[in-house]
Each structure stands twice: as C-alpha cells, then as structure tokens.
Symmetry: C2
Subunit: 146 residues, 2 copies
C-alpha cells in the first residue's frame, strides 16, 4: 500500500543512508549511497572526507548537467511482509560556498552542515570543507508491503 506524504517524510528523515540517483545529459543513470539530513522538503548531503573513488565526482558533474535526482530509502527484511521504501524526487544544486562569494554569505551551506553534524556523530571529527548539495523535494512517494 502507498504511504502518505507525512509517513514518507518521517520514515525518510530518520534513515541512516539513502541512495542517490543522478543522470547525465545522455540519460545514463548513476547511483551512489549518501549520508544525508532532512529539513522539511529539503535534503542535504556533503561531499565529505570519506575516501572517494575519485575527486572529480560523477554525482556533482551530473547534477550540474541535469538537476533532476531521485533518492531512495529502503530496508530489506527476509520477511517480505515487512518491506517498505520511500523515494524523494527533486532537483539538486550545490550550495554556494562563501569562499567563492556566495550570495547568502554561505548561510545555506552552514545550515546544511549543521543538520548533518546533528544527525551523524561521525561528522564531529570530520572535515566538511567540500561541496554541500541541497535537494528540493518535489515529490515524496512510498510503499509498504501490507
């Protein structure tokens, strides 16, 4: 059965990991897991100091080419009657960095970092000097088996 928007948002917000799908201009999808924080209809994630496969990140290049993204939270269980998922579709942008002359003086970026640090104690000791992405969710959808 379908979940309503409030159910979607609350289940999504407390999940510890989401999967981010982006697509390049040629509609080739790309997937990566992300740690994230939610504020209302905004989802934030940072390019943090976890080691990466490369520094020129495909996820950021795709967002620049094509801001349409999708995020998924789900939990697997061998008892399939317990399965559920929530998807957040929206548009992504990299938040301006004050060191690059952000219009807002970097307050959007600082807010997002604050939410990430509040959710993940792991971020306490971690540098968050890299890009921070904000997704404006335009559609929440969700499902549970029964």
């Amino acid at each position: 059965m379908n979940l309503n928007e409030a159910e979607c948002r609350s289940a999504f917000a407390v999940a510890r990991v989401a999967r981010l799908a982006t697509a390049d201009a040629d509609a080739q999808p790309h997937l990566v897991p992300v740690t994230f924080a939610v504020d209302g209809n905004h989802v934030f994630f940072a390019v943090d100091a976890k080691p990466k496969r490369s520094t020129a990140l495909k996820r950021l290049r795709n967002i620049e080419q094509n801001p349409a993204v999708s995020l998924l939270v789900d939990e697997y269980d061998e008892e399939w009657a317990r399965l559920w998922w929530v998807r957040a579709d929206g548009r992504a942008r990299t938040l301006p960095d004050p060191q690059a002359g952000a219009d807002d003086g970097g307050s959007g970026r600082e807010f997002a970092i604050g939410r990430l640090r509040a959710k993940y104690p792991q971020y306490a000791d971690m540098d968050l000097a890299g890009p921070v992405v904000e997704i404006e969710v335009t559609r929440w959808s969700g499902w549970r088996f029964a």
Copy 2:
C-alpha cells in the same frame, strides 16, 4: 579503496536487495529496490507479485525508452570504516515471454526465474508470471572505506 571486478561481482551476487536506477528519455532518474539474481555479467529481476504502487510500472517504461540502468548494493554501518558499495552499470531488456512468441521459446526467461527461485525461498509460493528483466552489466565498480 576501489574493489576489483571479482570482488565487486561476488559481493553483489550474495546481497539480498539492490536499488535499480532507470531514467526516462528526459533524463529524469527513477529509483526502486529490487530483489535480484546474478549469473556472470547478467543480473535478473522479476516484476513479482509483491504489491505495487501501480501495474503500469515506471521502471519498465523507462527501460523501454532508455535501456541504460544502474544497480547499487551497499550496507550501512555506524562504524563508517566498514562501509562499502558495489555498482553495476549496464543495459536492460525485458526477456521475451513464450506466450508472446519468444524467439528463444522463453528459455532465457525460464533460466532467470530459476535463478531467482534458487536465491529467494520467498519465491517458492509466489507467482512469477509477470515481466522478467535482464541487465547485461558492462561495468562493475565498487568501493570500501579502508
């Protein structure tokens, strides 16, 4: 650090759930969790009898418009040094159904269903009369924290 292809394939094959990203012709990504089975460089999933949000499934419409897909397996752990993921990028097609006059008499579809039933005891009692999708993986990539 990056995982090599053999590490990617073996970690992916035994995972119980993957997330499937498709994109429509306008490059809007779409995400859904899927149960799946692997044989070499092929990944199979079925549109099974788990309840769905709708019967005209966006994942299948997208594959018809644009066969480029990405699948992700990952496991979250609060100890971030244990994080890992594996991604399989490839091209998807719905396997011909013998009732629709499949060229191969439906043997590809039957093979895929056999792999799915072998992996998931949950499929023993479940009708698998719906579409079955095969993904030919063209690139395995994976990462673990350390």
